[in-house]
Point group: D2
Chain length 352, copies 4
């Protein structure tokens, strides 16, 4: 089953390869009469684009989006919206030597195993550039959510062993790591630069908080809200784990600790819980509390250190990659994870 479409009521179909003509997305199911401008979409793409800071890849793409359909006189019409971004700064020649080589940690091996053919240039379809379509669709999803006062906030929670000690949302966009703790951010940046200099890469943890989500979203028993979020997050390149609320920590907890106590909040006239170990989802359905989840991000597989590997024919090779790579993908995964979270939520919210 081909699977370049995500969602059921808000359907996002991405297409395009890293070094092809263009990457893009078709979004079907956008409610009609929504005001949306190119600038609103571009703004989200700018958060994801390469070359933002000295700790991201030097590939320079301005990633300008073009709207091909579905928007008429500044408003959506209910018909599918196609958005494209043409690839420009490809430097495909950097990949000529790698044509027949299985890059460790890369999808080249598995794509070949599956399809028997692979666009080796820059990661082809498995490239992070595929996520441009997701972010563009996410911009529209966020616009829909904003009408319902739902907000999605993503940030880097940890890099290597450095963890954010406090969460101050106002700090996130003030540092290149997208960390909500300005002190930890500086340490993270320093560490990434060291690792970059050594030609290596490093992993991290990204956290997403969804605020303002009403109780009642999620479709048991298989499309539980947390299950849908898990799938969306695990579909992002480099993500190796997902946990919600207490997550893996819950394995060590007692029921008497973990059960969130219900109380009646007079201010909002709502039933709420005093703690939120469950992370805003119970039985697969949102509780109305903040939805809080984390994803584990592996170190970028493209590194400039010699590695033993094989070529397609099975011959031993020793390679060192020349491409322009991110030493830590967390800062650029933040907008992608936000976009996917927005897409998931909208899919549950739309009652078209």
């Amino acid at each position: 089953m081909p699977a370049n479409t995500f969602g059921e009521k808000f359907r996002v179909t991405t297409f395009g390869e890293s070094h092809g003509v263009a990457v893009g997305v078709v979004i079907d199911g956008v409610p009609p009469k929504l005001k949306i401008s190119v600038d609103e979409i571009q703004k989200e793409l700018d958060k994801r684009k390469p070359g933002q800071s000295k700790i991201t890849t030097a590939r320079t793409e301005d990633d300008k989006v073009e709207i091909l359909s579905g928007i008429f006189e500044g408003k959506t019409t209910g018909t599918p919206i196609c958005l494209i971004v043409r690839n420009k700064d490809q430097r495909s020649e950097d990949y000529e030597d790698l044509k027949d080589i299985l890059r460790p940690g890369h999808a080249s091996f598995t794509y070949l195993a599956k399809y028997g053919i692979y666009d080796y240039r820059g990661g082809g379809r498995a490239s992070g550039r595929e996520t441009i379509g997701r972010v563009a669709a996410g911009a529209i999803a966020k616009k829909i959510l904003s009408k319902q006062k739902i907000e999605i906030i993503g940030y880097t929670k940890a890099i290597a062993e450095i963890r954010a000690q406090k969460i101050d949302y106002t700090q996130i966009e003030k540092n290149p790591v997208r960390c909500p703790d300005s002190i930890a951010a500086k340490k993270m940046e320093k560490r990434i630069l060291e690792i970059m200099k050594a030609g290596d890469s490093v992993g991290g943890i990204v956290e997403i908080v969804i605020r303002g989500c009403p109780a009642g979203l999620g479709e048991p028993v298989f499309d539980k809200l947390d299950a849908a979020l898990a799938k969306a997050m695990m579909s992002i390149p480099a993500v190796k784990g997902f946990e919600i609320g207490s997550g893996f920590q819950s394995a060590r907890m007692l029921g008497s600790e973990h059960n969130d106590e219900f109380y009646f909040d007079k201010k909002t006239s709502k039933i709420r819980t005093r703690t939120n170990f469950t992370g805003g989802v119970l039985g697969g359905i949102s509780t109305g509390e903040d939805i809080v989840f984390r994803i584990a991000v592996k170190p970028t597989s493209s590194i400039s250190i010699y590695q033993n590997t094989l070529d397609i024919a099975g011959n031993k090779r020793n390679i060192k990659l020349k491409g322009r790579h991110d030493p830590c993908i967390c800062p650029r995964i933040v907008p992608v994870a936000e976009a996917m979270a927005a897409i998931v939520l909208v899919d549950f919210i739309i009652s078209l």
Copy 2:
């Protein structure tokens, strides 16, 4: 979107409530001419059924399965298979008092928020009994996989802070915890009994290993194999996290450590990797190495300790549950997680 169906080519639809007439499943897309007997399905259900040991719920259900369709003269015909298990030992009277109470950690609150009505008896649709349909379908999925020499092994990796120190598959079914380390198993059992005595519950970690899976399974970019597994696992009641391979540990690793080195294995004439940090999935597609993932299991929410909560009307209540509950659900989640893993794999494998 209703979501009681899982899978696309191998479609599993479960139905039924804990205290309703029956629980069951319809499985569509089973290849024709597969030999399958009631006993093979019953065997898997027996692993999941209550009352197996002193550390599981005392509800006594023999959970006998009945085949209603799709099997003719001992073989599948390619038509949908309906399997049902009638509920017997319900004791719905235990729940009469709880009718209007929001049980902490339970889905009663969110089901009411979503549907405005709730079958409160024993958890209704949110009950673990819903997973009977999954396990029955999983029995058929496992049979299909066994023809391709693919094996799924699940076990309890950790309970509270006790972790299995070694993995000996032969030990798993020899202890009530389903732990592959017999020494850790004893400690776990003892701990669970203590917690049970205190009326409390505890969480744990379950690990699944898939052996013999060929390279090439998974559908980028959205139905990546790990993404599909994550969704399947997160859809199981009580699961709060999923990680594959190095998982959350990868956040602390360097690329030079994490990248699995390719080598040519002369014995099998296959390209393999020396390490398996990636957990058998690269770019969302299986590598041919073992697929290894873990799920975080929260402590059972039903406990026999007084808890503060509310009734539906928002009045304060203090409750202590009388039902017969599992103090730690890990041992009984093992067959459910295995079943879901089998269902995911078959869905990718079938080329009907």
Copy 3:
């Protein structure tokens, strides 16, 4: 892709074979808090059941429905509803001789070509008994529609060359042919009896009218309302054609004749059309006028006249069927077509 599920938001999954243990249906996506009784479902099944009159098959099945899930204290809960009907009067021995024979006009040949195995008893899955699940689901769909004042009326429009000359809905249930013209009904009944006596069968045309459907239903460009209805109707055994509004007659018309003129109806304060050549659907979306379509029904393939055919091995055979068959299936297709129309409409209407 297995395809025993119909619909997206209101999902109907049927299962079961003619001579198996039971036939049934799982309906997912039924809105919660809908009052529905066994009797309401049984009433629809009674319209479809065999042995209603001397012009239907003599197989006597009382087709009593059992509710297994999804209904709690007389109301739906938003969880899947499973309904089953056990097979009773099978007489599988009638089919023993036919085991290896390709019955002309029957699906035995194509099922074998597809699956390589076939439950030959009474048509197996290809039997009309499969439609029991559809009619049971349709009863619930009709209940949902009735809340919105939408009504579905089906009837036999033609048998052989005899056509209803007038449409009087009050007559439909007063004759065994389900014809809205009492005079034509008598002629049809007489003709069917003659054909039956000769061991033969005959085709006909069934018309469906949907009244009260609001404007705006249908999902261009692929799930147009008429396209969805066409698929639903063509999925009913024995149906060979579908046309809406002017249908095949439109091929001979001019645009100036066919275009329905818009006018403002003061009584209802609605924009309406003076004619309804389009049959209530324009551009795949309902106009608010009556939706009117017809289906072509082929003569039942089971006849008691000697026919030349082959056995599975390719040997010539000459057979005469002994089973109890309908000489004309139109009267019993009426409730099935109504049910499928109701299912289609509800799928478009539900905004879950």
Copy 4:
């Protein structure tokens, strides 16, 4: 549910409006390593493009296709293929006056009823230009089918009361009507010109024959091959009916006439049927005989004759359309119907 995607394994998503920036398609599920050139796709688009002859619309679009993704070094890679055609000769000013008018027979009324907003220029999304994406996808589908020796032949069977009396495939592309009977073709052309001169339009019947399709395609009970074809055809603008094999004629037939006799064909060593009243599909599964079906095409709704209608506000208006319209859409529906048939077949054939 948004529905601009067709198919499950071979998924075709179209986008674009008549007077927007571009129309196009994303095709997901194309098998890898298929050789396909721009020219092969262009050739099919040329059959559909406007301005082919004096009996088609004078809008002059060269409809040049651009490949954005999914094809690498002349071969498919298994990743989604995006194809676009930019709109050029729009003349949106022709539609300025029609902005607020409900054109009889047009989707403007129902689009407004559904979405509350409508791109009125040239039919917007409801325009026949949407089918460009279908034809482009169909070109790829046909290429896949050609590898399996499956051929799809479409032609105009009737215009008004003029019917093709013989079927000579070699004649189809030799006349502007795409009629396989050269004598009937001349009469049809003459009739269309007369009607065109009068500012009017006319309907017709298109027939499709699929040759070389193996037995065994189709997915009972809901995605029967004929049901899927019916939906595909009814989703084409202007189509009002579908019938397969004997179709509506079967209503007048006896079972003894209609049942196709099985015989063993020594030449091909296959079980075949002497007649083909069933049209190549039995029980929803292909028999291996030619699949033969017909669609009813209504007269184009855009006519240059004064018509009474309303504006959006409900005021009476009398209009005469100025646009450049096809007097009979049958010749240009032929490639669209062929494309949709190819897409349906490939979806059933692919065992990805």
